[in-house]
Amino acid sequence: MPDSLNPTVTPTASTAGQPVRFRGGGFTVKRHPWAALGAFAVLIGLWEGASRLGLASPLFLPPPSAVAHALAGMVTDGSLWLNLKASLARIAVGWVMGTAGGMLVGFAMGIFSTARAVGVPLVSAFFPIPKIALLPLFILWFGIGEPSKFATIGFGVFFPTVIATYSAIDQVPRNLIRMAQSFGLPWGSILRSIVLPGALPGILAGFRITASIALILVVAAEMIGAEYGIGAFVLMAGNLMQTDTLLAGVLVLSLLGLAIGTVLSQLERRLLNWR
């Protein structure tokens, strides 16, 4: 019997022609868990070093250590919580109002074609207005206090929510709705059991956008007229040339944005674990 037909005898490497050259490297995503942390450390280190060496004026660009010190001061004298509380309350009220209204209108536009025919041109007309431009009008209507800020944030959140909601409803697979109809499910059940959960991914993606809009608008509104709030705090620090305090406020805003994003990610993980 020839060797080539005997499966127990395999040719050894040295007798068998050329080795196949590996050429499948690269173009894959590798995880580098420490790279981001390292980059932060280097950036902060360079910044601190530049400051210490006198390359940057501590007034215009205070070193990270000064910013940290200012932040610690905000914690101990209670101004952090005082201002954060004011901003969070405005974001919460404005965002909930805009989201509730936007979802209601978005659902109507997603489900009823007349509502869509009326709504789309209106939304297209109002959506591009930078909502902060309406704050002076809202101040005239509602006064300088909280309601004008709620209205600005709510208005800014409303339109993107409308768009996200009705687009999300368009994304609900038609075949699932057909299936439900073929089993005789009533209209309300189809809405509750299929349209709502099917639209949830798109609606939650909209939350991400509207949360960042709310953060931008609350800062802007507080800079125009507020006693407390992170926006007012940052503006005040700027006016007093306290750049370390100013940057501490900015740092708080950055952490706030990060925290909101994390909460939304958790929400998505919980509610959309079926994907």
Partner: protein, 257 residues
């Protein structure tokens, strides 16, 4: 339940999809419908199931429905149409939710569907965790839960690989051995038609017209036997001849358009 289709025509805007279909499905009969893609098979099923309104003609059903039937005309879909956010058992329970049933009966309908399709241990799984074959078994269990009088199957095995298809054909044979549910079975696949159907309806390319109705003379249970093979081969030859001609002409027309 019997299905009576007479002079059925359907147009989507200017596109005529079905043209003058006359068809009768006897009680307990399984009719396979084959034809080139785009000839209106899914549309025909949609009309039969009351989810597409025909342009003209009539479609009627008559006869008894089984005890406990909740949805006489019931679909089984090519893409399974499962809710991805619901577990296997909740997908089945979905189609019972709007019916007045005792909690015990609800459970029993879900459980018996799961048991018959061999899904009991996957009752809490999400669709994404199941293979294609298992997903279609959920689709079948869901259909059985409403005790249908007539099944409309739209290429139920087309999304599955060859082995899975064989296994599910056995499941269908078992189903039709136990319940004589009338069925309209749309397929691309001659094997499925020859294994499962009593008669095969060949549709022409679009607009779909009935080219031929072929009766398979050997009963379903005996089609694996050697004595049946000559007849099956002859039927297969005839069906293939008709299908091939229609498919080739359909291809040429698409190329020209």
């Amino acid at each position: 339940m019997r299905l009576l289709v007479s002079d059925l025509t359907h147009r989507y805007d200017d596109l005529t999809v079905l043209d003058g279909i006359d068809l009768t499905l006897a009680e307990g009969e399984i009719l396979a419908v084959i034809g080139p893609s785009g000839c209106g098979k899914s549309t025909l099923l949609g009309i039969a199931g009351g989810i597409v309104a025909p342009t003209s003609g009539s479609i009627r059903v008559e006869g008894e429905v089984p005890d406990g039937c909740l949805n006489p005309i019931t679909f089984i879909f090519q893409d399974f149409a499962l809710l991805p956010w619901r577990t296997v058992e909740d997908n089945i329970a979905l189609v019972l939710e709007h019916h007045k049933l005792s909690a015990a009966e609800r459970r029993e309908r879900v459980d018996s569907g799961l048991r018959r399709m061999g899904l009991s241990e996957f009752r809490n799984a999400l669709p994404k965790q199941l293979s294609g074959g298992m997903r279609q078994r959920v689709g079948i269990a869901r259909a059985l839960a409403v005790r249908p009088a007539m099944l409309l199957l739209d290429e139920p095995l087309s999304a599955l690989d060859a082995q899975t298809r064989e296994l599910l054909m056995d499941d269908f044979l078992e189903l039709w051995r136990r319940e004589k549910t009338t069925a309209l079975y749309v397929t691309h696949n001659l094997d499925e038609a020859l294994r499962l159907a009593d008669r095969v309806c060949v549709l022409s390319r679009r607009p779909g017209r009935i080219r031929e109705l072929v009766t398979i003379e050997v009963p379903r249970e005996r089609r694996q036997e050697p004595s049946a093979q000559a007849h099956l081969a002859e039927v297969r030859g005839r069906l293939w001849h008709l299908m091939k001609a229609e498919a080739q002409m359909a291809d040429r027309e698409i190329a020209r358009a």
